[in-house]
Symmetry: C5
Subunit: 311 residues, 5 copies
């Protein structure tokens, strides 16, 4: 979730990032701690295995395997940084793209309130119905793209959505009667268009230029809904996701063996110290897995954002 | 093909990517397994050749050649990562560009339904014919850019396309009478334009602003068709494709020799263990060839997408 | 803060960047000197600790720890450059994006002055009130995004803002009566829209095309306000900030030990000279921490810019 | 030249890229073979020189020079990859930018055919003359940006261009009478604008909205001509081209000496094998020079494209 | 300055870049030769100092310092490539951005000539005055962003600018009477807007759609002026410039010592040859400093371009 922390950054004096680094909500620690525990457990297992269970001869073999693994994890054999960088950039751009294509009803609302005239009850109802159609459309889109929305939120807030339907019960039947494999988010927008045309005929929209303005804004709104729908429909190709996930996890699978502290007395190169805890490997795990988790994070962030907007 | 897996990602809890990694359809394994088998076969051949067929003296020579090859595959001599990164970014951007330039008839449809009036049969036919022209245009474009479309799909669904032509048989003659080396996708759009003008004269399009709106949307639609056509016509220059393919394949051609496990008893540096299976080289093959295959994949993905939309 | 130095660069002859490098205001030295002092202090502490307080045996252990740390800070174990590069690019793009989405009232002003007619006092007041609404809207946005603005500036200049409110006291009540968790920057723009409609009815805006022009410009202005608001609301995900901060600071935490000058007499590799001052590590600190500080800097720069525009 | 190979890629089954790799037309081999021959010649010369002409003492000196050169070509001393990557990206973006800014007359044509009425001869001539002005403008642009166009094509097809002028002979005098240091591509567009205004006065363009539509499309067309002209006028700064060319060529100048196979019997590090043919250096030459040649290639590709469009 | 060399590139046959590489005007040699001379001088000084002035013991110390420096300049300690790459990309994008936001009067001119009617003297004067206002505005912008313009050009061509003022002397007073800390480039555009409104009232602009077209083009023109002004006002933050300059110059400061040829007889690693001239270091200096100089170059290029356009 996108937790706002701008204010805290801006107030920060020397050393003041500390507080930010220790936050739990929306932080990297929350995303990572389970994976980190598993990694530590497996590393510990191999460490004990090597130190206490193996015969000297088996230790010797283990050491050669470890050196072999270490040799490849230190170099660029597994191009983790490369594929990770590509993937993270991709995911971030999609996230920002999705965000900026969010169909905000503000502009449409302003145009409706300025061009659909009539201070009487009918006029008010007309304006409100138009905006309801627009909101219904974005609710339908959000319900489709956001899993939290569709799972938890759906059941809790169904009444509120139903409320919409009740007001528009003649539309509801129409809506349900059309069966489509795809999201029907565009239907309320068609209703909007028809209602606006009727309002023009009744003279509540005074001239063609105003109607055109309404239609232009509707088209913009619709284009954003459509883009959001397609962002959801067309994901990053599975191939990319598989390559990057396998790269990161296979890298750390080999690290579990290759980064063991070997017996310093045997005098292997770069193995002169037995620290028991592989500090740098844990840091690497932290950075690489952290960046990988970013995709799930950015996906989740949209869900949260939606939530706020619906309220 | 772009297989939707968003839902699965979003529901994922700890360790839950596993299922995603094991999918076959649309996965990297399906793209790669044939190449991987060939690579393993050749590697195995050289391995047996070195171990059993060579005399000690020949083995010595082989070892020196292997060390020489290894030396260059470990460093940046063949800039595989560099050219691959450039190429993959290019291919991905084109794929997304093509996708977003897909001529969706939604906006056009909405404008037609809102501005071409008449509840009678003629009015309905008029609106339907306009949209048919638009759809025909995108069918013509898709048939040209998508090979699966043009090979398999063409024969199966020709009748459906012919159906269009039957309805518009006077146009069909016109269409066939014009010989052009290029795609004639723009012809139906010209018919659309003429028909809309006639509708304006008959008063079915009520004013000039509405006609202009129709024309603007038609232009947008046409611009997207045109962009898609050009994406197909102007490919990534052949030079780039050749450089990247040769880089990757020559890299692995040298790996087949350079990554052989040499006799540990001879004490060559970094050759103290004989694992028989070159785990890291296979991983490298997996990553590099996998990213290269992405271009074919992204091309194929458009084809599938088209298919769905036509249905 | 963005200090203009174009003129100085342009006049520069050979060697003339020197003056620019020595500037304090808006410079990197001002951003960094505190962190640099702390780093030097800790480095000095460990240096003295190693040289004078440890027994020879403890020194030996310290040396091995230092060599171990050094080994990892020299390689790519902590991918500082990678995450830093990604983060800096992100922050810079946001900064420039924010800057270009700044709601400049120029275009709106020109349209108002050209299309709202009337040389009498009422006409002048009408035009001035319209522009005041627009300015009030951007003041509200700026007060929300800029901390310096909201803390210092707010109290000093409240009267000036109040002045606006006094002129529009009937609006003020309306403004305060609406409670919202979000920024109410859009309210003055709604007033603008209503006032423009009234002006059209009174004939001060002569035709619908002129009104449409006004509305189009208002929409552009509003879109920029909205974008700026969202740039502020949706920050770079906290995860990215945490990863990059931890990467940089943990890197230098290990440098403090790993880059100590070890006793040259013990003949450790690459430790043949005791310079006391780790020149290159300080340079590294300067570059890496400097680029990290850039985010704070770019944030601050917007604040300053705002300040100038308000005046 | 941009040779279409999409169809071949799409039909490709396992191993099927082979055919594509062996193509000559539009391929990298055609671009490179002359440079490669020169490089091989020089390498061969030094190889023979070292092996047969030098005294043992001179050989010793040569070996030390070779080792010195080798040391620097193996590391990042000459940042070939870096400058090459930057330059190639730049050149590719310009190429695609130029391509998409190509002034296609389609949209303009459609607007002219839909809005300039009159089925009589004058009407037809009017529409044809308008489009001729537009085409003339792009011919003038293309003649200026494309050298093949201006050298070969110009003389062969001058009559065809003259044909235009004959039809518009009163304009021709005007065109020639105006002397300008810059391309006069904008003149036919001015004639277009004037002719469209006259058509409006004569009632052949029925209303102001249609005229505005014509003018908008003309502006788009003109903007693309202008962009293309500026892409040609403002090249990638010479500094970049010089740096990248010198980087690549100096790199290979040093390789010619540094990558010689030294006498294996002297036991130099990494010189245990005498292959006579420096396989990897040739591959490097192939990749680096290949990417550099891409700029010339992409430039040429535009020329070819133009050619097709003119026909 | 942006020297056009497209023609020469296009005509180039094998080996033909040579001529381009040897050009002086607008070349990298002209930008660099002074810095290169200084670098060589300092290097020579240290070389002589080491060879002739030091006692053997001092030489020993110098050698150790040199080896220490060399060790860090060979690795990535000073991330020159990284910061340089970021900075160069930034500068290039700004340069191209500035170039494309150049306020070309073409479109405005075409709209004025097509919509402001009247073949009499007053009509001609009206059109000319409108364009003069527009040109004056861009002259004011250019005088502010281009130093050469403001220093040399200003005095030589003041009369030409004054000529404008003389024609518009009543405006001149108004212009001078308004005191502003900022560029007053927007004032002539306001006059343009007012004059266009008056022309509409006098019937010289025939309808509101034409007036709106004029205003739209004026707004585009103004937006470009504004963008150019802001490109000039908001420079690349000083912090970036300082970091990159210090990185490059400190790198070469250490190279001056670290790249000295040490006595080959002492058997230091990689110091087996005394070439006196550090060929590779000079090449590095050439590349790195060359890319850094690009910012100054791209800045200057805009100035030249302006010059041509004003003429």
């Amino acid at each position: 979730m996108t937790v706002s922390y701008t204010l805290e950054v801006a107030n920060v004096r020397f050393g003041g990032f500390t507080k930010l680094l220790l936050r739990w909500r929306g932080s990297i620690y929350r995303l990572l701690y389970k994976d980190l525990l598993v990694f530590c457990g497996v590393y510990l297992f191999f460490s004990l295995f090597y130190r206490f269970l193996l015969t000297p001869k088996q230790q010797d073999l283990f050491e050669r395997v470890a050196l072999y693994c270490d040799q490849f994890t230190n170099t660029n054999f597994i191009p983790v940084l490369f594929v990770l960088g590509f993937y993270v950039t991709l995911a971030f751009n999609r996230w920002w793209g999705q965000y900026t294509s969010f169909p905000l009803p503000d502009n449409l609302m302003m145009v409706v309130s300025g061009n659909v005239h009539g201070a009487d009850e009918t006029g008010r109802l007309l304006r409100r119905t138009l905006m309801r159609y627009a909101n219904l459309s974005s609710v339908l889109i959000l319900r489709s793209i956001s899993t939290r929305f569709s799972l938890n939120f759906f059941f809790q807030h169904f009444n509120c959505v139903q409320l919409f339907f009740i007001l528009l019960c003649e539309n509801l039947k129409m809506f349900e009667s059309l069966h489509s494999d795809f999201n029907k988010y565009w239907m309320p927008l068609t209703w909007f268009s028809n209602l606006a045309s009727r309002a023009r005929e009744e003279g509540r929209v005074r001239d063609d230029i105003a109607l055109r303005l309404l239609m232009d804004e509707l088209n913009n709104y619709r284009a954003k809904c459509s883009l959001l729908f397609h962002y959801d429909w067309i994901t990053i190709p599975l191939v990319y996701t598989q390559v990057v996930t396998i790269a990161v996890y296979s890298f750390f699978a080999f690290c579990v063996i290759g980064r063991q502290f070997l017996n310093p007395e045997k005098g292997y190169k770069d193995h002169k110290l037995d620290l028991y805890v592989p500090v740098f490997t844990l840091l690497q795990f932290f950075f690489y897995t952290g960046w990988l988790k970013v995709t799930q994070h950015t996906h989740a962030s949209l869900v949260e954002t939606d939530f706020i907007l619906i309220m």
